[in-house]
Every structure is written in structure tokens, then in C-alpha cells.
Symmetry: C5
Subunit: 337 residues, 5 copies
Amino acid sequence: MSEKRFFHVGPDGSLRQVPSLDELLRAVEGGGYAWLEFFDPSREDLNPLVGALGVHPLSIEDCLDENSVPKIDDFPTNTFVLVNGYRILDGALKQEEIDLFLGKNFLITVSGCHGGTLRFGERVEKLAAKDPAALRQGPDYLLHVTLDYVVDSDVEAIESLQDVIETAEEDVLASPYNFDPKAVMRLRRDLLILRKSLFHSREVLAKICRKDSPFVSDHSIYHFRDVHDHLTKYFEIVEICREMITSLMEMYLSQVNNRMAKSANRMNASVRRLTMITTVFMPLTLLAGIGGMSEWSMMTGPSNWKVAYPAFLIGMAAIGAISYRLLRRAESRKPGK
Amino acid sequence: MSEKRFFHVGPDGSLRQVPSLDELLRAVEGGGYAWLEFFDPSREDLNPLVGALGVHPLSIEDCLDENSVPKIDDFPTNTFVLVNGYRILDGALKQEEIDLFLGKNFLITVSGCHGGTLRFGERVEKLAAKDPAALRQGPDYLLHVTLDYVVDSDVEAIESLQDVIETAEEDVLASPYNFDPKAVMRLRRDLLILRKSLFHSREVLAKICRKDSPFVSDHSIYHFRDVHDHLTKYFEIVEICREMITSLMEMYLSQVNNRMAKSANRMNASVRRLTMITTVFMPLTLLAGIGGMSEWSMMTGPSNWKVAYPAFLIGMAAIGAISYRLLRRAESRKPGK
Amino acid sequence: MSEKRFFHVGPDGSLRQVPSLDELLRAVEGGGYAWLEFFDPSREDLNPLVGALGVHPLSIEDCLDENSVPKIDDFPTNTFVLVNGYRILDGALKQEEIDLFLGKNFLITVSGCHGGTLRFGERVEKLAAKDPAALRQGPDYLLHVTLDYVVDSDVEAIESLQDVIETAEEDVLASPYNFDPKAVMRLRRDLLILRKSLFHSREVLAKICRKDSPFVSDHSIYHFRDVHDHLTKYFEIVEICREMITSLMEMYLSQVNNRMAKSANRMNASVRRLTMITTVFMPLTLLAGIGGMSEWSMMTGPSNWKVAYPAFLIGMAAIGAISYRLLRRAESRKPGK
Amino acid sequence: MSEKRFFHVGPDGSLRQVPSLDELLRAVEGGGYAWLEFFDPSREDLNPLVGALGVHPLSIEDCLDENSVPKIDDFPTNTFVLVNGYRILDGALKQEEIDLFLGKNFLITVSGCHGGTLRFGERVEKLAAKDPAALRQGPDYLLHVTLDYVVDSDVEAIESLQDVIETAEEDVLASPYNFDPKAVMRLRRDLLILRKSLFHSREVLAKICRKDSPFVSDHSIYHFRDVHDHLTKYFEIVEICREMITSLMEMYLSQVNNRMAKSANRMNASVRRLTMITTVFMPLTLLAGIGGMSEWSMMTGPSNWKVAYPAFLIGMAAIGAISYRLLRRAESRKPGK
Amino acid sequence: MSEKRFFHVGPDGSLRQVPSLDELLRAVEGGGYAWLEFFDPSREDLNPLVGALGVHPLSIEDCLDENSVPKIDDFPTNTFVLVNGYRILDGALKQEEIDLFLGKNFLITVSGCHGGTLRFGERVEKLAAKDPAALRQGPDYLLHVTLDYVVDSDVEAIESLQDVIETAEEDVLASPYNFDPKAVMRLRRDLLILRKSLFHSREVLAKICRKDSPFVSDHSIYHFRDVHDHLTKYFEIVEICREMITSLMEMYLSQVNNRMAKSANRMNASVRRLTMITTVFMPLTLLAGIGGMSEWSMMTGPSNWKVAYPAFLIGMAAIGAISYRLLRRAESRKPGK
């Protein structure tokens, strides 16, 4: 998948591919500037840049490293810019690294390492075809074009994250039991990574706008300021997303607790009913059992049943009514402590 | 709905509408300054400004973009100011964008894009009628008038949010079951958006007050400082609202938990009563059952019932009293672990 | 209630009331400086200051506005200082605004608007009587006297808030059911308002100490630094109060949950007892019922009761013991899942 | 308890106590410098310093005030340094104030006010005996010695707080019921007070290291930097303690909830068992009751019992088995809603 | 375990061990520079550096102290750099201190105090063998080599912490009962310690990159910037870990509450079933008991059983059906309050 292409941008803004680095250097001597596009390069691909264009070996290391933090480093012959691009792959945030070297008459773009997919070729060629005057402005303008492309492709990832949060929010409100805390946890981490990366990327752009690099001309500052503004906007969106995640967890917790409170309330009613029934009927059942003994019949005598039986029933009804009353009164008193 | 109007403010502060941009440019050459009012303009409406007044194409992009973050950008011929206005529409915060271009002798106001409703026409015309001397002070004074108008209309939105929070607060205290967490979540997001937007707007005003723009004169600084103070005040109010939302969620959670604790307490009392009744009467019922068997009558003998029956009853009462005592003692011991 | 008084402080530090603004201006021309004291003034009272002393109309607006944020603004002829004072009224924090204009030879104090109660008259007259040399130091010293008075009266409000928090803390610990979340919520808001106001007031004092105003002399800086230190101290106290409120809410929640856990534990014991009793006695009662049927007597035969009845009872006791054992074992096993 | 002592440090570093301030001033004129040690002084003790050494009256106020925030103030003749020392008294943090005045040829140390216990005498005298060359370096070195002593005695307080937190942590893990939220709340406040005080003290030291005071020589900066590093270390420890307290509260809450969940689970099992038993045996008991009526015997006829009784028992067993089955099935279905 | 070795790096980059400090100083006079490697040194080992190389006694103290905060201090003859290294030992974070003194022609490395294990010998000797030109660049390059080694060995500790968090996360999701809050609490503290230490280390590197030390040459700045970038990356990872711990606790709490809610729901269903059964069968059992009394048989008469018995059974069925209906209706009504 590794690929390297060398382009010469003529003084008239024409874009022409040349076969080798040596030829590119010769072409640049006659005017215009060079664009070196690397996609998923090996160390061997990048090493020649040290001698030919004064790239620092540490910058080569940075290109090949994973998970670097966005930064801008000035070197005598070039300014090294490292920014991140973002994609959503299978619901998870994928971060990739873009390394850019801006020199007096060259721009080196390195992308696609560690599974990255961003390529600048098509975009730049389309621009060259549509508006050659634009490319003529120099390698710093081309740098802006690549940064702009990175920022444009970030939008999709950020909007996708926003959608995920909104869906999770609706899920929680529909039923707290459908809620997947693992997904929210992953989202939270993704958002923090995004926030930190955007923060550092914005710092990088702020430094370019402050003309920290001698290879950035005055008229292209406006364009970098525009990229900076986009990053600021994304940063604010991510902050809002983070606040929403916090709200989400709180809402989830409150939903669960609320359901638990309602459940407890309903159970309370059931238990009260159960206690009521048991309290009223248990003593009566005992009495009926006692009345069922032969001795009772013997006591009342076989002929007295016309008095004894109704009296017994009335007594039971009275006892039932009294226990019902007592229980009611006990229930209505608030339990202390 | 798109609308564009061109005004010439004469050296005497008189406001006069002119039909076209060309005529306006000619009028300005003779003194005074220009005010260009755009409401919901298309790209075609704004493009002529690039050539005629030196507006940067990126600023035009900013005017047409949605959800931009407030900012101030200096360009050779003008200072571009982007601020936000707020309205409450159907209970939700609506944010709109106002774009202002301040030049040496012109002010361009762009509003109404993406569903915004703020219009400056009426306000400025009223001022021109009431106090022509005011307008004479220059385009920077007119800029202050528009910013002041934006800030004035924000008050309503902020007060409306405060009302919503106070209502939610009363709802939670009245009954936690009436509480709508979704509404609070939306409110939280709105407040964060507002906070971030006010923060950036305040930064913009602070930069104007620090005279970052060459088109702002010394005597109008006092007016911009006043706008800045208003934004600071709104910012603090929003911060207090955010704190109240946090309190609200905590209070809601504590209310729910408190009710749950009370419910558990009441149920506890019911269950204890149930256990008591069951423990006392179940053994007695069993005994009555056993006594109900013919074998018992046979054992005691048919003639001994005068002794056997009372003895049986007394035995039952004794067992009942003992189990009641035992249970009481067991209950009073704190359950370990 | 509106009141205005004009004082001339002679070069010897003597304090003399003069009837009108005109007379005051004439007196000042001869040396010394002017003190203009306004209490709850109307716009008409303040407007003459614009012409006579160069007060900016926007400052007049600030005096009449409500809920302004503390600030310091420099104008050509005066420095406008806006600070807040605090009182506790019916348990709630009342914030009032104090506006001060310091010029080369005048000090204007405005207080009492929107229900404020702070008055400087008595304090200054007492000082003038006790130590005339102090007043001689100039209007900046008098400014310090008024600020010092404001800060002194804040102490009471802050100590009162501290008391409220400590009482709430004891209430929560005594019984979580006595806790009033509404009061805590109000307290929280009051503390945040206080924190923000103190923060801005401290900034104002820091600016005075940095000699941002040309009307403050070197030797009075020490006094303003002292006011600044007091505000810092109050600010830290308010921060500590805020932390205590957070602790309080957490403690309340933990108290409620702890009680709930204890309640659940006690209920658990009751339910286990109930299950035990029911499990042991229900089968026995059934058996006694079955044994109570005539068929049983028929089966065992009327004469076999001496064997059948004890056997029946022993069988019941055995079944009871077995179910008790089984239940114990089941209970001791931890419920899975 | 009030005590004041005056020392003259000779040009050779010798430490000699002199009886009065006047004598001290005379001694200093001949070279060396003065050290004035005050412990719990009254206003009368300190007032003479105003005239004799140019101490500002406001600094005297600061010495006598309680709970001042650490600070450094420059005056024409001296630099006033206010720092805090800490002790643990009866488990609670006690904060005390140390006031230091550094002049060209004098150092005033004030401690012991409002119940403070720090005394510098012994330490300095020991140093003077051991290493006279050290004292010779000037009053700024002596200032460092006192600050170093304060910082050294803080260690004990900080380590004691760490111990308290670790004990609380073990308590919570052993049993959440032993946990004392009041103690944690007090600890939290103590830690916040400590944090704020250390923050301001560190600022004071940072200012000394930046040579804000003209009375601090270059070679003693290294020593103040060392004090600053110690304060930074304590500050970080306090931050970690604060984080641990937050963890502790969360852990406590989670422990309580976890126990509650386990308790609910166990109760659930009990209730299911109870329901099972009741559901199976209640209908059977009813049947046995119905079977116990004489009418049943009449229906089956006295001689048919050999068929009727076993059939009745088999029917009961069948009904019992069926209700058991039905209940099992009902239980295994997840309760909806 | 204490060990000290002296090396002379010749002008050609050759590394040669010399037996004593004196010999080393003589060798350096002839060009090249010195490297003094101390591992777990005693005070006696370090004291000679004060006289020989101008090391400040306070720096010696710092080397021997425990738990110092990373810092950089400039002294006339050397720059003192203190950083931390990290290891995971038995699942807990171990922090160790590395002290470095960079002079014009020497580098002193001190490590291994208080149980530290980092040694630089092997690494430097390997480098000297592989690339002698590298060492030739001076002591500042050697400083970079040691810092780089420290940072490289940190990676392992950080990755190990990440693993622990991910395992804990999976544990919580698998079953909240397996979760060990104590481990999380320890992790949290470790992460905070790490965060603070990395923060200060990064500050140290930032100061080196800003050329605060006169002993750092321009061309080695790039290398220190690289170390700085690594620290920034670790810092961000630690921040993300901290956020994940917070998520973890929230998730744990929500899991526990969710289980509790489900448990409550299931119990609710059981209790409702129990209440239903009891309500339906208790009255019937009572009736059967009453029907079991001889008096009933007497009332209905021995010959009327053909009517009385079915009528009795039908009546019981009717009563059962009615109580079932009534209970259903009561249950379906939402319990108020």
C-alpha cells in the first residue's frame, strides 16, 4: 500500500509529476516548488529527505511513531507540522496522523501510516485543474489546502458522534433498561481523545497564524485563520457533547432510581394489603379451628346449636372488624425513626 | 425573504437610502460613510463586496456558514466581527449569527441567515430620526448601535431560561415524579452553548476595547466597553444558571432517594406486623387442627371435655404469648452484618 | 428616600457641607476637594455631573442599572469604580451596588439604589471629627475609606452564611429527614453570586493597586492593597463554604442511602423469619386438616387411636424438623446472580 | 504569654540579646543587623516599630488580625511577609500566622498570636552556636531560617492528615457502617483550607525568588527556592489527599449500594420461597378443610372411604404439583415493564 | 548497592573510565568532558562535588530527599535537573527520582536512591560503542540520552496502568459484584501522582527547550523538544485514564442500581402473587373451617347435605372469584403518593 509521488509545481501553478527525488530537486532549481506526497511510507522512503531537504531525523521518527500529539516544530530548513484526522470506523473513533513539512520551496505530506486513509492527491489535482492560480501562491498555500482537507473530513466523524449521543439519549428516555453503559464509556473516551487532539491542533494553527514559521507568507495567514476557526468550532461541539454525556449518565441514574422508587411504592401497597388480609383472617381461622373440635360441640351441647352457632359467627365477625380497625389505625400512624 | 438596502450617512448624520452599491460608493467619496444592510443574503448578494470594499472571500464564507463561533478578524480594508444573538423559540434556545464589517468609511451588517430574525433597520432609522448627531460619529458608532441592539435582544432569551429553571425547581420540590429530565438535559445543553458563545463574544468585545481594530476610534471605546460589561453580566448569569441545574439534578436525586427510604421504612413496619401475626397464629391454628381430629376426642374421652377443652385453650394462649415474646425479642436485636 | 449632599474638604482636612453643586465647584477652586454623596438618586440628580465634572453618561446608566458586575473604568476626568456590598435579609443574600467616581479633586459616592442601605455619611463625618489629617490626604484616601466601609459591612453577611451552613450540617447529621434541600439550593446560588462578585471586586482592587487610575497616589496604594487582601480572604472563605455545601449534599445522600440499607437489612430479617414460620407450619396445618377428616378416623379405626395419634404427631414433628433444616440450608446458600 | 526579645547579630555572626529597642538601634548603627522576636505581642508591643523601623501601621493590623491570607507586601523600608504554619490539634487542623518584616538591616518575626505555638528563638540560637558564619550572611538568610522552620513543622501536620485519610479508607472497606461522614467532611474542609493557604504561601515564595523585594540578596535566593520547592511538594500531597477523599466518598456510596443490592437479592429469594410455599399449600389446606366437613363424609358414604380417601389425597397431591409447576413457570418469565 | 563511576569523554567521543574524581578533573582540563555516574550514593559520595564542580549543597539535599517534585534550578556553574521515572511493582506505581547536573564540561547523573533501579551505564556505553560521534556533541547531548532513557522506561509503566483499567472495566461489565473498589482507589491515586509528576517534568523540559540553561546548546534543543513531546503524550494518556476511572465508578454505580431495580421488580411480582393467593384463599379456608363445625351439620340437618354441600361449595367459589376481581382492580390502580 506504500506509495510515494513527487510533483513539481511550476511558477505558473502547473502540477507535473516527476519520477524521482533527484529530478524533482533539479526542477525546483529552475523555479516553482516541490510537493512530495507519501502514503504509508517506510523508514527507507523517508530517510533520503534528511540529506536532500534538511529534514531532521527526529521528525522522521515522529512520522513513523503512533499516537503523536499534534505539534509544530521549527527547523532551519523547514517547519514540521503534525496534526490528526478523525474517522468513525465501526462506531469507534479512529485517529490518524498527518505529517507536513513546509520549506521555502517544498511541501512534504505524509499520511496513511498505521492504517490511516487520508490522501491528498485527488484534492490537489482537482484544485490544480480548476484553479492553477491558487497553487501558484506557494507551498504555504498548498499546506493550507491539505489542512483544509483534513478539517473537512473531520466534520463527518464529529457529526457521527453527535448522532450516537442523541440516539443514546432517546434510548435512555425510552427505557433505562435498554441503555448500554459500555457504549457510553467508549464514547466518553473517544470524546476526550478528540478534545485533546483538537486542542493541540488548534494550538498548532494558532502558532502558524502568529507567523511562528518563516515559511508562511502574510497573505496565506487568512486561510490558516479560517482552519483555526473551524477547529475552534469543532472543539466547542466536542465540549457540548461531553456535557451531554455527563447529563446522560445522570439522567440514566435518575431514571433507574425513579423506577425503583415507583416499584417500592407499588410493593408497599401489596404488602399492606397482604398484612391486612392476614391480620383479619388468621385469628378467625384459628377460632373456626377451635370451634371445629368435638369438645366445642360437647360444650354447647348438641341441642343448643341454634344459639351457639350464630353467637359464634357474630363473635368472629366482631373480632374481624376490630382487628381491621386496629390495623388501619396502626398503618395510618407514620412509622417513627 | 432576502433583502439588501444601501444607506449613505451624510457628514451631518443624515440617513439616506440609495438604490445601488455603485451609487453608494460614489456618494461616500463626497464625505460621510456607507451602511450596507443585508438580511438573509445569498452568495450572489455578498460577492460584489469583495471587489468594491475589499471584503475577504473567507469572510463571505463565514457569513453563509452556520454555527460559527464569535470572532474578530482584521483585514487590510476592514475588521470582520462575528457575534451571536439568542432567542427562545418553543422553549428551546435559537442562536443566530450576526456578521459585521467595519471599514474606514463603511459598515456592513449581515443578519437573518439560517432562520435568524434580527434586523437593524428600524433601530438605526429611529436613532437617525431622534439623534442625528449620534450617527455623525462614524461607522464605529453605528457598529456599537448594532451590537447594543443584539445584546438588548439577548436579555429576553436569558430571562426566559432563568424562568424555566425556576419552574423546574419548584416542580422538583412539589413532587419528584413530575420532573422531566429530558427538559433539564436540553436546558443544560442550551446553557452550555450560550456560555461558550457569550465567552467568545466577550473576547471579541475585549479585543475591540483593546483597539485591535484600526477602524475603531478612541471616543467609541467607552461604548464598546459598555457592551462588554453587559456580556460579562450575562455570562455570570449563565454560570449561575448552570450551577442551579446541577443543584436541581442533585436535589431531584435526593428527593427520589428520600421517598424511597420513607417507602422502605413504611414497608418494613408492614412486614414486621405481618411476621408477628403469622408467627403467633400459625402454630395455634395447627394445634386447633390437631385438636380437631377425632383421635383427640377419643384420647381425652368424651366425658373429660370439661377439663380437656379449657386446658387446651389455656395451653394455646400460653404458646401464643410465648411466641409473641420471642419474636419481640428477636426483632429488637439489631440484625448483624 | 432619595438624598444628595455636597461636602467641601478644605486643605486642612475640615469637612463642610455646602448647599449646591455650583457652590461646591467654586469652593474647590480655592483648594481642597469635593465629596458628593448620593443616596438612591434619580437620573435627574445625577445628570448635572456630566457637564460639571465630566462624568460619562454611560457611567450614569451603570449607577441606575441593577445587578451590574463590579468593574473599574477610566475616563479622562475620572475613574469610575463599581463594587458590590452584601447583606443577609430574611436568610437570603441581598447584593447592592456602590458606584464611586474618583477625580483629581472630587469623589462622588452613589449608593442606596434598588433597595440598598449602605450610607457613607456617618462614617466619614466620624473620621473627619476624629482625625482631620486623614481626610487631608485627598479624594483617593476618601475612596479608600468608603471601600473599607463596604468591605467591613460584608463581613457580617459572610459570617451569617457560614452559620447557616454549619446549622444545615448539624441538621443533616442529626436526621436526614429534617434536611431542607431547597434551603441548600438557595444557599448554593447565593454563594456562587457572592463568589463571582468578590472575584470581580478583587480584580477592581488589583487594578487600583497596579495604579491603573491616574487619580490614585502612591501613598494610598497601601490602603487599597489592604482592602484587596480583605476581599481575597472573603473569597477564600466563600470557596470553602462552597466545598462544604458539596460535602453536605454528598453526606445527605449517603445518610439517606445508609438508612435505606439498614432498613432493607431489618426487613430482610423479618421476611426470613416469616418464610421460616410459614414453611414449617403450613404443611403441618395441611396434615392436621387431612387428619381431621372422618375418613382418617375410619382408616385408623376407632380403637387404634392409641397408636395412630402419637404416630401422626411424631410424623408431623419430623416433617416440621426436616422442612426447618432444608430452609436453613437454602437460606445459608448465597443467592446466585 | 506575650514575650519580646531583641537580638543584635554582629558583623561576625555572633548573636547577642539586648534589653531594649533603643539599644538595639544603636548597636545596629555600628554594623551587623537586628533581630526582633515577638511572641503573641499586643498592639502596644508592636506600635514602636512604626516610628523606629518604618513599619506601616496596616502591617501591624495584619499581625493582630486572625485568618489572614499569606502575602508579601513591599514598603519603602521593609518587605512584609505573612505565611501560615499548621498543626494538628485533637485531630483538627490548626492554622497559625507568622509575620515577618525584612529590612535592610533588621528582621522582625511575629508569631504566637491567636493561640499559635511556633517560636523561632531556640532554632536560631542553636544555629548561631553551631554555624556563626551562616548568620553573618544577613537578615535575608535569617528570614530563610525562619521560613524553613515553619515549613519543617508543617510536615508533621500533613503526614498526620494523610494517616487520617488512610485510616478512614480502611474503615470504609472493612464495613461501610463504621464510616463517619462528619469526620470526612471536616477533613475535606481542612484540606481545602490547607490547599489555599499553601497556594498563597507558594506565591509568596515565588515572589521572593523573583527578587520582588530589594532586601533579598542573590545568594540567598537559592535557599528561598528550596523553601518554595517544599511548599510545592506539600501542595501536591494535599491535592492527592483531596482526590482520595473524593474517592473515599464514592467508595462509601458504592459499598452501601452494593450491600443494599445484595440484601435485596437475598430478600428476593426469601419472598420467592414464601410465595411458593403459600401458593402450593393454601389451596390444599382449603381442600382439607372442605374435606373435613361432615357433609363430605356423608357424600362419600361411611363405607366408601377406602376409595374416597386415597382419591382425595391423590387429587390434593396432583393440585399441589400443578400449582408448583405454574408458579415456577410464572417466576421464570421476566417481569415486564 | 551504592556505586560511583567516573568517565572521561574525549574530544573524539571516546568513553574512558577513570578511577578517581581528581584524575577526572585533570583529564577534562585537556579537553572533552566528564560524566559522573552515581547509583544510590551516600551523602559522603556526593559532598566532594560541592568543592570540585560547584554543586550547591541544597542540590545535594535534593538528591538525598525522597518524593521531590520535578524541577530545574540554575546555578552559576551548573543546571540542576530533577525528574521522575516510573515502574509498576506488584501492581502499584513506584516513582523514583533522577537527579542530573549539567555543567559546561560535565554531567553528573544520580539515580537509584530510595529503592530506584534506573541505571544509565549500559545505555551510554552501548551508544558510545555504536555511535562515538553522538557523544562528542557534549554533555548536553548526554543529558538528552539519559532523559530519553528515563522517558522510554516510563512507557512500560503507563501501558501497564492502561491494562489494569481495561481489565477493571471488563470486570465491572461482567458482574458488578466482582468489582474491587479498593484497587480502583489505588489506581486513581497512582494516576494523580503520575499526572502531577508528568506535569512538572514537562515544565522542566519546556524550560530546557526555552534555553533557560546556558549549558544547553542550540542543536540539542531539538532532542529535548522530542523528550518534551513524549511527556506531553504520556500526560494526555494519563488524563484519558483518569476520565476512564471516573466513567468506571459511574458505570459501577449504575450497574449496581440497575440490578437493584431489576431485583425490586422481580420481588414486586412475587409479592403481588403472594398477596393474590392469600387474599383469595384465606377467606375460603375460614369458611371451610366454619363449615367443619358440627353445628353446621346440625343446622343443615344430616339429610340435607345434597343441597347444602354443593350450595356451600358454589358460595365459596363465588366469594373466591369476587375477591380475585376486587384485588385485580385494586392492583391496577396506581398507588398514589
